[in-house]
Symmetry: C2
Subunit: 431 residues, 2 copies
C-alpha cells in the first residue's frame, strides 16, 4: 500500500513507496531509462523509469506522457545528492489521468502578449510559480508582523459613495439607484477604525482607472494600510522600517529556492535590516539639482528622480517633509514650518520606486474644516469623516504599502504584471 | 519618566508609572474620587483620580472629561482583583487632548438605522469592538490553517470580463472601452491556480447585486475559496470539518473576553470538533417531509429548511449529493448516479444557515464541453477555463466559506450587518 503525499513532503518518506498526483514538466530518455521531470505545485522531483525493472505497460505509459500530461505516479523515494531537490523517485507505477496534446507554452521563447493571453497556463511555469510563492510569503509576513504587534485587521469597504482624491481615476458603479466608486484607498475608513481599535491595518484590493501603461502600474492592486492612534510621524517611520525589514527577511528565510529560480541577487536583500536612511524633500531637491536634474522647489518627483535618489543607497530611503501643496489634504502641517507636511515616502532600492506613502494626519478640527472647504469636500458623503475630529480627536499616523511593487522589488522583476495571478492593466482584462 | 504603553500590555507594568493615549468610555465620581473608564482600542482600564492625592489642576482636568474625550493619562498600574481586567491605574497626570461635546451615541438605546448611520462611531462601542476582534481572529485562523497545510494564497481578480453564474446579480463597470463585472466568486480562477500550485486558497471581497434584505445577506462580503488538485469529495469534506473546527477553537483560545462581552454561549462552540454529521439530499428531503414540510425531490432548500435540519445537530451538518439541476454547471456528477452531483453544503448550527458550499469539479473535457453548450458559455470569455480540461486535467475539489456568516455564527449575532466594519446592503452605502 502506498501513501498519498505531495512533493514538498517527500523528505519524510525516504525509502517508502508513495503515490503523488502530478504533471509532467519535462521529459528526457535514453533507450533504457526515462527521466520524468514532475511537478505538483508544491515542488519538483525527477521520476526514474527503468525499462528492465517495470512492466511493458508502465514503460509504454511513461513513453506516452507529454508535457503537462497529468498522472498519479507511484514509486520509492531515494536521497539523491546530484538532484537539485536532494531526492528522486524510482517509479514503480503510473496511472495516466490525461494526455495533453499541443500544450501552447513550450520551452521555446514566447512573446509577452502571448504569455499574458495564456496567463492561466503560464502560472504553471517554474518562474511564475516562484513569484506566486514569494507573493504568498510576503502576504503572510505582512500579516504576522501586524498581528503580533497589537494591530487589529479591519476590512474597509470596496464600494464607496465617493473618494477623497478626485473622481477622474475612479471606476464608477451603479449601486442600485445610487452612484458608487471602487476604492482607491481605505485610509479614511481606517482612521475611523483606529479611533475604535487603536492600531489597525487593512489589506485588500484597490483600484485606479489610470490610462497609463508603465511597468510600475496595475489597474487592480493590493494595498496594506496601517493606521495608528497616538502615533506621530517619527514612531510611524520606525514601524515602517521594522515592517519592511521583517517582510524581506521572512522571504529570505522561507523562499531561498524560489529566489534562486528567479536568479535574485540575495545579497541585495540581506542588507534590508535596521534603520533606513532619511532625507527631507529639501535635501532631495538639492541632491537632484547637484546631479544633473533641474527640479524647482514645490514640484513632485517622478520615477527618474526617485531612482536617482534611491541609487544612492543600499536600503530603502525615506523622503520626508514634502510641500503641503503636492500632498493629500489630510496630512498634518509641520508646526515649525507649515508649508511642508509631516509625511514620508519610502523609495525602494534598485529602481523599484515608491513602495510606501504615509503621514501624520491632521487632528485639529478647525484646520480639517478649512481643508474640507479648500478641497470642496463639504458634501454629505464626508460628514462622517469630520466626526472623527469632532469627537475625541487624537494625534495619529498611517501609511500604505503597495503589495505588487514590493513583490516586484523582492523578486527582482522588470514589470509588475508578473506579481499578481491575473493582472488587470489598460487593455488587459483577460483571462 | 513614564513609559508609553497600551492597555493590553499593562500586566507587564505593575508598579510602574506608564503613559497611555486613550478615550473616556464612561465616568463616575464621588466628591473625593473620580473613576475614569478608559479605552484605547486594545482594552479597558479604570483610572482612579483621588482628590487628596493630585493637584487641583489634574482634579479639574479629570472633571472636564466627557464621554469620548481623548487624553494621555499617566499613572501607576496596580493589580486589582475586583476589576474585570484584573488591573487598575492610580492616575498621577492628565494631558487633555480633546474635549468631546454631545457625542451622539449615549448609553441609552438607539435605533438600528441611527447606529448604522453612525457606524464610524458605533465601532467604538464595547460590543462592536468585540465583534471586530473576533472577526480579525477568524481571518488569522483561516490563514494559519491553510498556510501551515501546504496551501498557497492566490488572489483572483476582482474585475472580471464575465461571470459563470448569470449577470443579473452582477455589478457592471465600464473598464475603459470594455465591459467588466465585480467578482461573485474567484472559483474558476482558483481552478487555474490549483493546476499551477496544487493546493491554493483565496481570501477576498466578493459582490452580489441582490435586491433582497435578509439578516444573512450583504452586498459586499468576504469569501475564502480553497481549491485542491488531486483531492476528491470525501477528502475535501475532511479538510472542511478540520478547517471549521480549527477556526472555532482558535477563537475560543484567543477571544474569551470578547465572547463574554457578546454574551456568547461558549458551550455551543466547544462542541465544534472532530467529524461533522453528513446526510444526503435524499435523506434531507425525507427528514423534512417527515417533519411538517412538503418539499418535492429536485427543489432547493431555503433558510427554514436549513434551520430545521441544522436544529437536529449540535455541530455543522453536511448535506451532500444535491440534484445536478439545482447546482452549478461545473460540479461533477456522481458516477453511480449522474442525476446528483459530488457536492456538499455545510449548514451551521443554531439557525445560521449555509456557511460553506463546495464540490468536486468536472474533470472530463467532453462533459465540460457539453455543460458549456447547455449553459451558453461558449463565448470567448471562457475559452481559458476550457483550457484547464484540455491540458492536464486532474480530479479536483474546492469550496467557499462566507466570512460574515461565520462571524455571525461564532459571535452569536442576529444580523450579518454587525460582522463587517462598514456593511454594504440594499440602501446602505454610507458611511
Ligand atoms: Mg510620490
Ligand atoms: Mg444552498
Amino acid at each position: 500500500m502506498s501513501t498519498k503525499t505531495d512533493i514538498r513532503s517527500v523528505s519524510s518518506h525516504v525509502g517508502e513507496t508513495v503515490r503523488i498526483g502530478c504533471w509532467v514538466n519535462n521529459k528526457r530518455s535514453s533507450g533504457k531509462i526515462q527521466f520524468l521531470q514532475l511537478r505538483d505545485g508544491t515542488g519538483y522531483i525527477q521520476g526514474v523509469v527503468v525499462k528492465s525493472e517495470v512492466s511493458e505497460e508502465i514503460w509504454n505509459d511513461a513513453k506516452s506522457l507529454t508535457q503537462e500530461s497529468s498522472l498519479y505516479v507511484t514509486g520509492v523515494i531515494r536521497e539523491e545528492p546530484r538532484s537539485k531537490s536532494g531526492y528522486e523517485m524510482t517509479v514503480t507505477g503510473i496511472e495516466v489521468l490525461h494526455i495533453t496534446e499541443d500544450y501552447p507554452i513550450t520551452p521555446k521563447e514566447h512573446g509577452v502578449d502571448f504569455l499574458m493571453d495564456h496567463r492561466h497556463l503560464w502560472l504553471r511555469s517554474t518562474k511564475q510559480r516562484a513569484v506566486m510563492v514569494v507573493r504568498a510569503q510576503i502576504v503572510r509576513a505582512v500579516r504576522e508582523f501586524f498581528d503580533t504587534r497589537g494591530f487589529t485587521l479591519m476590512d474597509p469597504p470596496i464600494l464607496t459613495p465617493s473618494s477623497a482624491e478626485g473622481t477622474t481615476e475612479l471606476f464608477h458603479i451603479k449601486y442600485f439607484d445610487e452612484d458608487a466608486y471602487l476604492t482607491q484607498s481605505g485610509q479614511l475608513y481606517m482612521e475611523a477604525a483606529a479611533m475604535a481599535l487603536g492600531k489597525v491595518y487593512s489589506f485588500g484590493p484597490t483600484f485606479r482607472a489610470e490610462k497609463s501603461k508603465t511597468r510600475r502600474h496595475l489597474i487592480e492592486f493590493w494595498m496594506i494600510e496601517p493606521e495608528m492612534a497616538f502615533v506621530e510621524l517619527e514612531e510611524s517611520l520606525e514601524i515602517q522600517e521594522q515592517f519592511v525589514s521583517y517582510v524581506v527577511q521572512s522571504v529570505l528565510d522561507n523562499c531561498r529556492a524560489e529566489l534562486e529560480t528567479l536568479e535574485r541577487d540575495v545579497s541585495k536583500l540581506e542588507q534590508i535590516t535596521g534603520s533606513f536612511p532619511r532625507i527631507t524633500y529639501d535635501e532631495a531637491i538639492e541632491f537632484l539639482n547637484n546631479n544633473g536634474f533641474d527640479v524647482p522647489w514645490g514640484e513632485d518627483f517622478g520615477a527618474p528622480h526617485e531612482t536617482a535618489i534611491a541609487n544612492h543607497y543600499d536600503k530603502p530611503v525615506f523622503i520626508t517633509h514634502y510641500p503641503a501643496e503636492i500632498k493629500a489634504f489630510y496630512m498634518k502641517p509641520d508646526p515649525n514650518r507649515p508649508e511642508v507636511v509631516l509625511c514620508a515616502d519610502m523609495i525602494a532600492p534598485e529602481g523599484y520606486g515608491e513602495i510606501i506613502g504615509g503621514s501624520q494626519r491632521i487632528d485639529d478640527p478647525k484646520l480639517m474644516e478649512e481643508r474640507f472647504e479648500q478641497h470642496n469636500l463639504t458634501s454629505d458623503a464626508y460628514k462622517w469623516y469630520m466626526d472623527l475630529r469632532k469627537y475625541g480627536s487624537v494625534p495619529h499616523s498611517g501609511f500604505g504599502l503597495g503589495l505588487e511593487r514590493t513583490v516586484a522589488w523582492i523578486c527582482g522583476l522588470d514589470h509588475v504584471r508578473e506579481t499578481i495571478p491575473f493582472p488587470r492593466m489598460l487593455y488587459r482584462l483577460y483571462p
